[in-house]
Amino acid sequence: MEKLLEILRDLHPDVDFENETGLIDNMILDSFDIVTLISEISENYDVTISAEHIVPENFNSVQALYELIKKLEDED
């Protein structure tokens, strides 16, 4: 989780990622951020996040994103 927070903070240092639950709904992350984030995640976690996983429920909070990564790791 700490690694993921680090990646997110690197993307937007001004956002309180630990408590934010509307990263997509509140338009904090845009499509460019999401794609950059996916590249960073694939570098660090060895999972592949594909287009069909890009839905607000998976990206609205750091917790949701972490759960997605765990799920994909389990599937692999």
């Binding site: 499509s31 794609v35 996916i38 592949t48």
Partner: protein, 516 residues
């Protein structure tokens, strides 16, 4: 049958009462019949293309659904008997089958689109007897979006092929969008609707507002723009400056006006259609503009091209390769590469010509440069307090508006060379006097016409501003005492009737986006 024609108004006046009089479970049948009739008024043979798209997409989506069911049933029955590895292999095998059906549907429909719209661009000559049906670019994207959504499992496949036909051919939106998602449109398109006065009155008000934009502003400007862009060697310098402003106003009034009519008519029928604009000319950056202009198209390209391409193995592979050499500097490579493909396709989607391709790639270039300069801009705003004031925001708004005006000019000329020549002449030709010595009044618009469009633009601005402050303007007016709201809508109705060219010699132009 243009939205602003007498025949369309008669068509709606007949359709709406019948729609609410027939049994409610037959309403969607009537919409399907009306949609086919509407489409046939352009050319009955075009209906074959729409049927072909509806049938192929429906068939492929059903095959995906059946395969998913086969997989789920099999795994449910044998969950205890087979190992996780076998389950995984079985799922992967079926995922491939579903992918194959999706690809088949996409290829068939893109194939039709390429044959009728792009063949002559790529091969220099068209195919005899094949013409591009109206709205093919819109309904093809809508149909493919549905198919991909079914494959992703975000919507259930529609079992009734006639409902699929209605989803694709729904007459208010078939020729110029918005490009609706199945989950958004189907909810109200196939459901039963009771007569509600609010739907009729609010829908009619929206249609009236659309007519105001189209007939009073867009159609009035069109002759001047057409004259000026018809001869780049004759009309240069100040004429082009005038066109920059006039065409962007025309495009806005034309496209948003058309969508107002679409949403208004749909509301009268109880159908909710997605909004396509969010006051785009108030944007303070190009990125923001593309979040607010033609929203459904941008969303479509983001969901179905940008995300799949940027997360694809080849693009992620290139990204990893570059990052090994450049480090963190290469982290935005997937964004830049995928955006390039998106903007190339967005340009091509607008039309089979180099002007649209260059327009798309210019958008891409500006967006990517802005993205790369974002950290510099952040430091700039941190260092200089005056860059955070209201006046600086006005400056960024005007700067964005100018950029949009210049990009919009690529719609106007036949070739890229002519467009750049016209743009260059703004700086190179000193003929500002033509704007004041009466020459500009000889191109199809009188002084009174200029006054009308100036007043019209002022009203557009005021209404949009009111919208930012009060939300829905129709709700705002509806809350006023009866005489006030009656007066407002009556004046708008009379204005459209008298100033909106419904008089002698009425000849409304086709909507600009009908040709895309």
């Amino acid at each position: 049958m243009l939205f602003t024609s007498y025949s369309f108004i008669g068509f709606i006046l007949l359709l709406v009462p019948v729609y609410y009089l027939i049994p409610r479970n037959r309403q969607w049948w009537l919409l399907l019949f009306a949609s086919c009739l509407f489409y046939c008024t352009f050319d009955p043979s075009y209906l074959i293309y729409v049927c072909l798209t509806a049938l192929t997409v429906w068939g492929c989506a059903m095959m995906i659904r059946m395969d998913q069911k086969t997989q789920d049933d099999y795994l449910k029955e044998r969950k205890e008997e087979i190992s996780k590895e076998v389950q995984k292999a079985y799922k992967a095998q079926h995922k491939k089958i579903r992918e194959m059906w999706m690809i088949l549907g996409v290829l068939i429909n893109l194939g039709i689109l390429v044959l009728v719209k792009y063949y002559s661009f790529f091969f220099g000559h068209g195919i005899k007897g094949l013409g591009a049906p109206l709205g093919i670019s819109f309904y093809t994207l809508q149909a493919l979006g549905y198919l991909i959504d079914v494959k992703r499992g975000t919507v259930d496949a529609e079992r009734n092929p006639l409902k699929m036909m209605l989803f694709i051919s729904f007459f208010p939106q078939v020729i110029q969008g918005p490009i609706s998602r199945f989950k958004d449109l189907s909810e109200t398109l196939f459901s039963e609707h009771e007569f509600e006065w609010k739907n009729i009155s609010f829908g009619f008000q929206r249609v009236l507002w659309g007519f105001f934009k189209k007939l009073i502003i867009a159609d009035r400007i069109a002759p001047v723009v057409n004259t000026i862009v018809s001869d780049v060697s004759k009309y240069r310098g100040a004429y082009i400056t005038a066109v920059l402003v006039l065409y962007s106003l025309e495009l806005y009034a034309d496209f948003t006006g058309g969508i107002d009519v679409t949403i208004g008519i749909s509301q009268m029928l109880g159908v909710r259609v997605t909004e396509n604009f969010d006051m785009p000319y108030f944007s303070t950056s190009l990125k923001e503009y593309w979040r607010r202009w033609h929203i459904t198209m941008s969303q479509w390209f983001r969901e179905f091209v940008f995300y799949p391409v940027s997360t694809s193995k080849p693009i992620q592979g290139i990204s990893k390769f570059i990052r090994k050499r450049l480090g963190n500097k290469g982290k935005k490579i997937p964004v830049y590469l995928s955006s390039f493909i998106v903007w190339l396709l967005t340009g091509l989607w607008h039309g089979a010509s180099w002007t649209f391709i260059v327009w798309g790639l210019l958008n891409w270039f500006i967006l990517m440069v802005s993205e790369e300069l974002e950290p510099v801009a952040a430091k700039f705003h941190e260092k200089y307090a005056w860059s955070n004031t209201k006046w600086y925001k006005v400056f960024t708004w005007l700067r964005t508006l100018l950029l949009i005006f210049v990009l919009n000019l690529f719609d106007c000329y036949r070739t890229v060379g002519e467009t750049f020549s016209a743009l260059w002449s703004i700086l190179a030709t000193a003929n500002a006097k033509v704007l004041f010595n009466g020459e500009i009044l000889k191109l199809g618009m009188s002084g009174l016409d200029y006054f009308v469009i100036l007043a019209g633009a002022g009203i557009l601005f005021a209404v949009s501003y009111l919208q930012t402050k009060k939300g829905s303007v129709r709700e705002f007016i509806a809350a006023k005492p009866y005489p006030v709201r009656f007066a407002i809508w009556f004046v708008l109705f009379i204005t459209v009737l008298l100033v909106g060219a419904y008089g002698i010699g009425y000849d409304a132009s086709q909507f600009i986006y009908n040709r895309f």
